[in-house]
Symmetry: C2
């Protein structure tokens, strides 16, 4: 089970500690140290992904773990062990991830959860729901409804281009889909959380838009399979599908025996507050707590102290960038851990922990041996910043160009197919 | 147009003044004076319904105004004159009213808005939407979803028994219907109001359930015709149906030219805060401000200082009560404005302003002449409390028994027919 501390005990401390501020809308580390992930894991009560757990994942799936897991980029979890155990017992689960469309194109950081989700869908052969939180973006960015829908459509094409199986993938916008028990689950959860609790978990203030204040259950409730009665494939799960748990008896904590299909959520760790709230409510709603697999932040070109932002052009490589833009941005902006002069560099080597090119290669260079060799050469000063940047430019140009090739083949009709409420 | 003070200016003062507290969830007047409606009208910035406006209503509809209007029970409005003017110009409008099911049966007080709504539907020949706020009741009363749905179904039968035309009436529960632009409108409004404003308008506190905090736009948005694209009859309106107003230009106040079909909302005045908020947001959403026709409270059997409550059995006559229960409750609980002894009563007469039997007859005795005669006789002491109670028992027994006869003929299939999302 996930951790000694209950979710409840840790849920009040989600906001700023002395220096770092992590909410689903703001990520900033301290000036000196960047993000302190140990602190985050301790404060929030999630678990580190251990080598043993990675080994178990590989054994259960008979698949090598994804580089993003092997390299500790997905570094924390809640109940991933429970998911693996139940999967081994023959129980199905489903994947849930999401995207808040705020610009017409995804950047590389946005891609991370989808890459791991694609790997998990393939390795476990499970259904996936992708929530497009157009409503959240309207509250947070002041977009118009039409604008949000246009961005959603474009972003959905990006997501489809990652390669998800249309037969097992349902992409939906909150503006279009509130079917099944989805809204009913939102209402149930809205009765279990009060304004005080939401304010302390999410940092809502008097100026926060009312819609945003009411939004957390909307992001929470795709964690429950009864929100998607049209995804029939999990009806065959041993732990049968029961759309309404209302008639079940509660224990003295107000909890009901859990029904429905388990859920695993790949996301960046800044989304943890939503799912901590979800995990507190789930037993009282008669559902399993969703499990999580959580990533550290993809660093901005300028360095590891924040996360990449779609609103700062120069901080990110977009999936629409041309090879020339990729080359120019990396050469110009990618923060270097190398030394000021070639002589010094040869003598002292680079600090690869803060070097953005090396950090980005950890995300996107598949070959473990090559990555190790580059790290070694660069840290020892035998490789220069210009050389590691050239390598990164190669890797990203390949990635982005091949992505763009797939993206160009995604038609409007394909978007409608993935987003159709259909028997699956 | 409705009043010199803008909605905005008056919206911050909706809560308690010195003595009386009126919110959508709490109604209590001062000990001495009961509810001070003049104060309410001034504070909230609505308008009194004048004899001239009643005359205009009668002229426009070529129908005598309903007793509840003639007798000043529906005493306040917002933009009713605008609705009448536009109707005279040939523009259609629709009616919107609602019900929060909290008990299996309606009481007489619940019936009031539906009686006036039925009259308005007939007089103007317009469509009607009836929102069942099951979600609100879950937040406020802690009902389970299944329980709320059962109450909704039973309450819908009561509403249908009032006699609404199924071809022009759509009854929906928020748990089932969030179609058309309904949720999109909720999201738009959720972006225009912040937490501070909602707290000052509705009195939300830290302990308020999160769902309830997010709820006001849900009650607000059935005011906009784009929430109901399946009600085609108003497409023929001169002021054409435009489901999405996003592309329209805004003026320097952020307001757009209004589209959609106008809405008239009959309700008790405690619901005004919801629609004050709605009217503030509507122009920025590109919609007409909904108009209102607002009732004073139906007094409890025990007297006029509060409103009838479904949770206090003895305060109300329920539509399920037997003739014997009606007789016993009125004889036992109906607050009398008569004197202590027959002799004193003959000498001083009754105070009909505080006499519940007389007040209730004002609501339910159709014959104006008879009501005037009873008022006169009773006030002069020529009629005794026992006699006016006997008259009230007659009137209510007739009303309730004939209601029960119609209610018994309402089948489950009829409920499904009124609640079906269908081309209308």
């Amino acid at each position: 089970m996930s951790g000694a501390a209950s979710d409840m005990e840790t849920s009040q401390s989600s906001l700023e500690s002395s220096e770092q501020v992590i909410t689903p809308w703001e990520v900033s580390g301290s000036e000196e140290a960047g993000i302190d992930y140990d602190k985050l894991v301790n404060q929030w009560g999630c678990q580190r992904i251990t080598p043993d757990l990675v080994a178990k994942l590989e054994a259960v799936t008979a698949t090598r773990a994804h580089t993003l897991i092997r390299r500790g980029i997905f570094f924390a979890h809640r109940d991933l062990d429970v998911i693996l155990d139940s999967y081994q017992r023959g129980e199905k689960f489903f994947l849930y991830t999401g995207r808040g469309p705020s610009s017409g194109s995804l950047h590389l950081g946005h891609l991370i959860p989808f890459l791991i989700t694609k790997y998990l869908q393939d390795a476990f052969d499970v259904p996936l729901v992708v929530q497009m939180t157009d409503d959240e973006k309207i509250y947070m960015k002041g977009l118009g409804v039409d604008e949000a829908r246009t961005l959603c459509h474009e972003n959905a094409k990006d997501i489809i281009a990652v390669g998800f199986d249309v037969k097992k993938t349902f992409i939906f916008s909150d503006l279009d889909y509130l079917g099944g028990d989805f809204y009913r689950n939102i209402v149930r959860m809205g009765q279990l959380v009060n304004l005080n609790q939401a304010q302390s978990t999410f940092g809502f203030a008097g100026e926060t838009k009312l819609g945003m204040v009411g939004f957390p259950p909307v992001q929470a409730c795709p964690s429950f399979s009864s929100s998607f009665p049209h995804i029939k494939s999990w009806h065959s799960a041993r732990d049968g599908f029961k759309p309404d748990a209302a008639s079940k008896k509660t224990n003295d904590k107000g909890e009901k025996s859990a029904s429905g299909v388990r859920c695993l959520i790949p996301c960046a760790i800044d989304q943890d507050p939503y799912f901590r709230m979800t995990r507190e409510c789930a037993p009282r709603m008669g559902y399993h707590k969703p499990a999580l697999i959580e990533a550290s932040f993809f660093p901005a070109l300028q360095g590891a102290k924040g996360k990449m932002s779609a609103s700062d052009e120069t901080s990110a490589i977009f999936l629409t960038d041309t090879p020339k833009q990729i080359k120019d941005k990396i050469n110009k902006y990618a923060f270097s851990g190398g030394q000021q002069t070639v002589e010094e560099h040869r003598r002292l080597g680079a600090n690869i922990d803060i070097d953005v090119s090396y950090q980005w290669l950890k995300f996107f260079l598949d070959d473990d041996d090559e990555l190790a060799r580059i790290g070694e050469e660069y840290a020892r000063g035998r490789m220069l910043t210009g050389e590691i940047k050239a390598k990164l430019i190669d890797v990203l140009t390949d990635l982005v160009v091949s992505f763009q090739r797939r993206r160009a083949m995604v038609t409007d009709d394909m978007v409608y197919a993935y987003m159709a409420v259909r028997n699956m």
